[in-house]
């Protein structure tokens, strides 16, 4: 399945300023692995040492938070969008 991953401003420093990219994946976890394979520097910002999504990052499959689906095991479909939303504090 081709999945579009959206990368927020705060992480684009580690994605060569790329705002989105397409990867082939069957699950959210595979999509994230695909992203990290292309931009290895993103790993520390989207996955914790244990391989989970850390508490200051949310991954949304289309409009749904994957924490309330099946986490990284959530199945994806062709054309789905994965949005990475990381905490920002500026005001």
């Amino acid at each position: 399945m081709a999945i579009l991953i959206r990368i927020p401003s705060s992480l684009r420093k580690w994605s060569d300023d790329q705002s989105s990219l397409s990867v082939e994946a069957r699950t959210v976890g595979e999509a994230l692995s695909g992203l990290i394979a292309i931009h290895p520097d993103l790993e520390a910002h989207v996955l914790s040492a244990s391989g989970d999504v850390p508490g200051f990052v949310n991954i949304f499959l289309n409009a749904e938070d994957i924490r309330f689906l099946h986490g990284k095991e959530t199945l994806v479909q062709n054309g789905d969008e994965l949005s990475i939303v990381s905490a920002i504090a500026g005001g």
């Binding site: 927020p8 401003s9 705060s10 420093k13 705002s19 910002h45 850390p54 508490g55 200051f56 949310n58 949304f60 409009a63 749904e64 938070d65 924490r67 309330f68 949005s83 939303v85 990381s86 905490a87 920002i88 504090a89 500026g90 005001g91």
Partner: protein, 383 residues
């Protein structure tokens, strides 16, 4: 029974002719009280529009002074007020806009000792702060006091908006972000930059949500997160859910009172005190080190390349904190280093990191290049 004065009827005429507001709604706004935390980028449009809309009692919390570098986005403040307190400046602007409202200025840093007392006097809280510790503090205090928290945050070209009303069944900030990023992972706007108009867009959305909450009109952003990206000019709406495992508003809460937010966010810093930290040196020490080769000290600038282009100290070597983990081996563990950044926070982080890697002779320059500009060389621009 509260009424509008004739002058107010004319002033609010365009609200009064909206069926969703009308006289009843305008009186609700007049009877309402709102506390805006922060009188900066977000707080400026929030306060300006809420004052103009006729919120009866508008409180602002901020301890800072107006800096020239604020004016690119903080439209409450003017060039003539640079150096004055932000709240004096805000009071001046807001009282000009609407003399019919009560303005309450709280020139303090919001902390666990004053947050409950301040927030409990208001109906709605607008979070326009610039740091994670105050955001978690605001969230927790609002939950404990059952106050809606109109959340906005910005970074570079991107904004996030939601309304946290866990007392009405919605999620809280902790449901969205259970933990803050490690210190230093997400740069502040001072380090990373921010488009000046961005807080204008997000602050206006916060003001809109605040007015809707008071009027009881429309659908608030409770349970939804709006993300805005200025470069793509895209708004996206994402669903937020209350987390049953949330330590604050979940089914088995563990947090029943305010906690230590600097500790929670790992931001406890010596910079909040006037005492020199044993690992710090002054800019005078840095000057001597640069001028006198017998010191055998090298000065490392840990700011980003873009900042280095704006202002630099001659003789300092650039090695950004963000690249330190990959590049620290370019440094010699036996060499003595003075580390400096913009204000002295990042250089302490660099010092702590290098010390973990076995470096022994390290000092962090207190106040960074800002202090250098103030005390040593005014030709170095402040930014």
């Amino acid at each position: 029974m509260m009424q509008l004065q004739p002058e107010e009827i004319t002033r609010y005429a365009r609200h009064l002719s909206l069926p969703e507001v009308g006289l009843e709604g305008q009186l609700k706004l007049k009877q309402a009280s709102v506390l805006c935390i922060g009188a900066g980028g977000l707080g400026s449009p929030v306060a300006l529009y809420l004052a103009a809309a006729g919120i009866g009692r508008l409180g602002l919390v901020d301890f800072d002074q107006v800096d020239l570098s604020n004016l690119q986005r903080q439209i409450l403040h003017t060039t003539g007020n640079v150096g004055k307190s932000k709240l004096d400046s805000a009071h001046q602007t807001l009282s000009q806009i609407n003399p019919h409202i009560e303005l309450e200025m709280h020139p303090v840093r919001l902390n666990r000792d004053n947050a409950m007392q301040l927030i409990q006097k208001y109906d709605v809280v607008v979070d326009g702060t610039d740091n994670f510790a105050t955001r978690y503090l605001t969230n927790d205090a609002c939950f404990l006091l059952k106050k809606p928290n109109v959340h906005g945050s910005i970074f570079r070209f991107e904004g996030q908006l939601s309304v946290f009303s866990p007392h009405l069944g919605g999620p809280c900030y902790r449901c969205l972000f259970p933990e803050p990023p490690p210190p230093g992972m997400v740069p502040s706007c001072a380090e990373g930059g921010v488009l000046g108009v961005l807080p204008g867009v997000m602050g206006c959305l916060q003001a809109t949500e605040t007015i809707k909450i008071i009027l009881g009109a429309g659908q608030t952003m409770m349970g939804r997160l709006l993300t805005y990206h200025a470069l793509d000019m895209k708004f996206r709406e994402l669903k937020l859910r209350r987390d049953p495992g949330c330590p604050l508003c979940g089914d088995h809460p563990e947090i029943h009172e305010l906690v230590d937010y600097d500790q929670f966010c790992g931001t406890a810093s010596h910079q909040t005190t006037n005492d020199m930290h044993p690992d710090e040196v002054t800019v005078q020490d840095m000057k001597q080190a640069l001028e006198d080769p017998t010191h055998a000290i090298e000065v490392i600038d840990v700011r980003e390349e873009e900042e280095y282009q704006l202002a630099r100290v001659e003789g300092a070597r650039l090695l950004p904190l963000s690249q330190l983990a990959e590049r620290y081996q370019e440094l010699d563990p036996e060499q003595s280093y003075y580390l400096h950044c913009k204000a002295g926070v990042r250089s302490m982080k660099a010092l702590e990191f290098l010390r973990q890697q076995g470096f022994g002779n390290l000092k962090s320059v207190r106040g960074g290049i800002q202090a250098w500009s103030y005390e040593i060389d005014p030709a170095v621009p402040l930014y």
